[in-house]
Structure formats: structure tokens, C-alpha cells
Point group: C2
Chain length 327, copies 2
């Protein structure tokens, strides 16, 4: 065990040194945001300093929609869900009297986003329910392979923010374990999280419902249901972090008031050094500009007001990011 740990430590040090030789976070302009990230990582990885954090405690949590990729004109999972609902509609006559599903089909999204996205999650859970987790994953993969974002005309999974990809890589190279903690569907995100973000399925936390285990024709399957819905937003985020991870993170990245509790939990009174960062959508030209009045999800009011007193970094997409998407 000791030999293995020493070897792993040597890898981390080597990696860190190799990284320092090149430009760090190249898609970030030289700004207070970039400096805050670099100085936080330097601090917690410096064994000789008083702020060193052992690797096992370097947990970073990232919201997904609006933090790692866009959530406009509607969150990507809603686009997928609407396609799924259309595909399954003939098998579900009861959906004709489901007002959330009807709202989604007619493109009337605001009512779906109220009360922590309750209507939205209802249609997401409904569209996944009754199928096995493998059937659902196959549907998600099919959709990603063909659907295009209406504005950027690219595959949805090609729209991860390049500066945030660099943060994920940089933290990982410095011994952090990155988790996604998102209001998005757990089973939806796990299909692409490793490929797109380098985040393995077991490090994804999200909204979910119960699955039911059964032997179907002698083979084990897990069937998605609509029971025990858990909507991973607001105060539910630190609660899910406790249940799924069981450790307090030392870095949290979000973009909306739905991430406020997660940033509080990460930064307020944490005995370890911590970093909280909010991505502020300020770039209508290259992406979108919104905070108090988002087009879909991503309302950002109180977290933005509290950021200075909490010491949270506010990243101005327009000023701080040299580019938004990979070229």
C-alpha cells in the first residue's frame, strides 16, 4: 500500500510540474477569476504551506447546465425529452390530458420551470419511465448522435465550455476528484459525462427517481419508474452531496440561485480552504446574456448579491473567457 501511494504521489507531482511548464487555463484571459482558481489550487497542493489539503479531500463539485455547457434556448435534456415524448406518444394516451406534457409539446416552457423545475422534471421522469436503464441510455445516445443545437448548429455534446473543460482537467491533474452535481437527470448525464467531461458515471449526482430491479427472462434489469422523485436543486444539492459523496467539497462551481446552497455548504465555515465560483452569463454575442430573467433555467439573483460577502468568484464570461467553445 505505501509503495503504491508513493508512486501515485510521484505521478501527481510529475503531472503538476509538467502542467506548470505550459500555459495554464489557456482559454481564460488573465483576470481575477483565473488568478483565484490558480492561487486556490497552488495553495491546497503546496505541502509546505499551512493550507495543504490531502488528495483524498480534494472534492470539487460542478453544476452542469449553464456551468459546463449552455442551458439555452432550453436545457438540452428538454430537447431530448420532447423528442422522446413525440416518439412514445402513441403508446401513452394518458399523456393527452397531462398538462406538463402538453405544455412541452406546444413549446410553452415557463410553467415547467416553476417550483424548482417540478413540471420539467415530471416530463423528464415520464419520458424515461417504464424502460430499462439500458434502453434509456440507448435513446440518449441515439439523440446525441443526430440532434443539433438550433443556434450553434453543432451536436449538443460538442458545446461544453472550453474554459470549464480546462478547469476540470486542471483540477484532475492536481489530484482533485471532480463530481457533477446537477439538476439534470442522473441517467441522462451519465451517458455522456465521461466522454465529454472526463467524469466517470460514479461521480455524477443528479435528479432521479427509483429504479426497480427484476429478472426479466432470467436476465437482471433495472426499470425506471416515477416513484421517489429527487430533484437535485437548491438545498437538495448539499443533501445529495452528503448522501452520494459523504464528504464536504472544497470547490464548487455553479451559475444560478439553484447552486447557492451548494456554494454555501462548500465555503461557509469549511475547516479546509475552499473556492466558490459563479459563471455569470454576460456574452449575448458568443453565448447568452442573462441572470435575473433567464430565457429558461438559470435564474441568478441572490447568489450574485451574496457573492462579495461570501468571497465567491464571479466569472464574467464576456471578459474572462478568451473563447467559449473549442475551436
Amino acid at each position: 500500500m505505501i509503495r503504491r501511494d508513493l508512486c501515485t504521489l510521484a505521478c501527481i507531482l510529475w503531472s503538476a510540474l509538467a502542467t506548470q511548464a505550459s500555459d495554464l487555463l489557456p482559454s481564460w484571459n488573465d483576470s481575477s477569476s483565473k488568478r483565484a482558481i490558480l492561487s486556490f489550487v497552488a495553495k491546497v497542493t503546496d505541502k509546505s504551506g499551512g493550507s495543504f489539503v490531502p488528495t483524498s479531500q480534494r472534492i470539487a463539485v460542478f453544476d452542469n447546465d449553464g456551468t459546463l455547457w449552455p442551458e439555452n434556448p432550453i436545457p438540452f435534456q428538454i430537447s431530448f425529452t420532447i423528442e422522446e415524448i413525440k416518439r412514445q406518444l402513441p403508446q401513452h394516451p394518458e399523456w393527452n390530458s397531462d398538462k406538463d406534457i402538453q405544455a412541452a409539446l406546444s413549446g410553452d416552457f415557463p410553467p415547467l420551470l416553476r417550483d424548482h423545475f417540478r413540471g420539467l422534471l415530471h416530463i423528464i421522469f415520464a419520458a424515461g419511465s417504464g424502460m430499462t436503464t439500458e434502453e434509456f441510455a440507448a435513446s440518449v445516445r441515439r439523440w446525441f448522435a443526430s440532434a443539433k443545437h438550433p443556434r450553434f448548429n453543432k451536436a449538443y455534446d460538442g458545446l461544453a465550455y472550453q474554459p470549464m473543460q480546462e478547469v476540470l482537467d486542471y483540477l484532475r491533474a492536481n489530484g482533485f476528484k471532480n463530481y457533477i452535481v446537477s439538476g439534470g437527470g442522473l441517467d441522462f448525464m451519465r451517458v455522456f459525462s465521461e466522454r465529454v467531461y472526463g467524469v466517470v458515471p460514479e461521480q455524477v449526482v443528479g435528479s432521479h427517481t427509483a429504479v426497480v430491479y427484476e429478472l426479466r427472462d432470467g436476465a437482471p434489469v433495472l426499470v425506471k419508474t416515477m416513484n421517489r422523485p429527487f430533484i437535485d436543486d437548491g438545498a437538495r444539492k448539499p443533501e445529495a452531496i452528503q448522501q452520494f459523496i459523504g464528504r464536504r467539497p472544497i470547490a464548487a462551481f455553479g451559475n444560478s440561485d439553484g447552486d447557492k446552497a451548494m456554494l454555501e455548504y462548500t465555503t461557509i465555515g469549511n475547516p479546509l480552504p475552499s473556492l466558490g465560483l459563479l459563471v455569470h452569463h454576460t456574452d449575448a454575442e458568443r453565448e447568452y446574456a442573462y441572470d435575473a430573467k433567464p430565457q429558461s433555467s438559470g435564474k441568478l439573483i441572490t447568489a450574485l448579491v451574496e457573492a462579495p460577502q461570501r468571497g465567491w468568484v464571479v466569472t464574467d464570461m464576456k471578459k474572462d473567457w478568451r473563447l467559449i467553445f473549442s475551436e
Copy 2:
């Protein structure tokens, strides 16, 4: 990233070679059980063979009570819970009319174990409810520091089975990620899992209830409740594996019918090579002997009957283990 991966790979190879130089699983007698474990690991780590499994997919799941340490005369968490109930009794007059709590206080355990341990989990959840996760962890630590097992007269956390410790180490040295997937309390097990088994808190899955996030005097806390109970036993085990891990394991270790679904999910129709193992308690002299009629938890009937047709390894503690506890 590639440099880091190569380096990590070199560590794993080095570790594996170093391990092979010494005796593998030294507390196991040379038996079909030991050979099954060694040949499974050799197979999935052999890059040149057709059964190679990439490290990211080497997930192993372990039941705790009866598989990694004893569950007699009563599961260790019940001993802790009874002490907690006594300590908190003055603050809970309503417990005087709680029949599960009264049964526990009078030492009448059989009714608590029925229906997937419903009564047992009720008292466990009740004794933890209302306190913060940090207060609960402090109680658990206090108990482990002073309580002694009535038969072995050792601290409870000194009673991990040495042969299973070696399996945990051996799998880890071969690139496996070990998870505990147990009916035991999630917050209880996380207090000792890293220290005792080398399993970090985020790789522990267990029975739990909802926690509630709040800012208490300005500081974030998570308060344990009795809401949304989840009892991680039987079919709930593969369901919890899907929710918490999101990958199908390739190795599963258990000792009771409560582990049967987890072993099925791991081994039946798995596209990857897999191993299922049942620890059979056959050693009344050095530990305990039971299966169909356990003294407390750990009933083993149908899984034992199905083991041959499923290809599950049945480990005979008396014959297969050279020693039970570390010396």
C-alpha cells in the same frame, strides 16, 4: 492526460508485480475459493487475454455485516444503537410507547429483523434522527473508542476478517474500485470504512434516510431525519448500485440471501467476466456457524442452493480461512 494515465498504469503494473513476488492472500488456505479469486483477477488484468477489463470498469461490491466482519451476537450497529437509545432516552418520552425501541432495550431482537430488518432500521434511524451528520459521526467515533465485542473482548473495529482485508487490498492493487454495499447505515459505515477497510466514504452505499440542509447560526449543517427511508437489502442492493455507482460491478461478495440480487446483477448475463462469492459461516469455534437459522441477521438459504448453477464461489470459513482475525 495521457502522460498521467501512463504513469498511473505503470504504478498499477509495478504494484501487481511487487504483490506477485510475495504470497497472495496469505490468510487463505490453498483451496478452490482462493484459486477462483486469483484466477478471476489474473484473467481480467491480462491485457493479452480475451477477458481483459479496463480499470475503469473494475468495480467490486462488498456486503459488510457477515461478509467483512461478524454480525453476531447482534450486528455491531445494533449494539451502538442501543447505547445511543439509552443515552437519548430522557429526551424522547415518545420512545416509551415505541414497540421496536422497547424490544431493542429488552434484548428481544427477532421481531426487529423481520421484513428486511424493518424494525432494526427503524431504531437505527430513530437513534440518529434530529442530529447533524457531524454530531452523529462523533457519537459513532466515541462508541468505537470504548465498546468491546462481548465474545472476542476486542474493539468492534478490530474484528474485520483478515482474509477479506486481503481480498480488498488485492483487488485495489489490481486496479479495482471497492465499494461497500450494505444494509448497514450509510452514515455509520462511513465513519470507519476508510480506516478499517481502506474504502473512502464516497465508495460506501448503505441504508439511509433523507438529510435536511440548513444554515444554523449562519453555518451549514445537514440534519438527519426519518424521512424517505431506504433499506439497502435484497433487490434494493442492485437498485442502489445503479443510483450510486451507475455501473454494473464485475465482482460481488456477500454472505446471505439479502445479497442474492446483488450477486445476480453482477454475474448473470454480464458482458464482462464476473465473480460472485458467498462467505459461508461454518466455524463455530473461531467465529460462528449459521446459515438457514442465524442468531441475528445473515439468513442464507436460497443463495446457497442457487450458488452451483450460478457459478458462485462458496467460501467455507472453517476450511478456507487459515485465520479469521488479524493476529
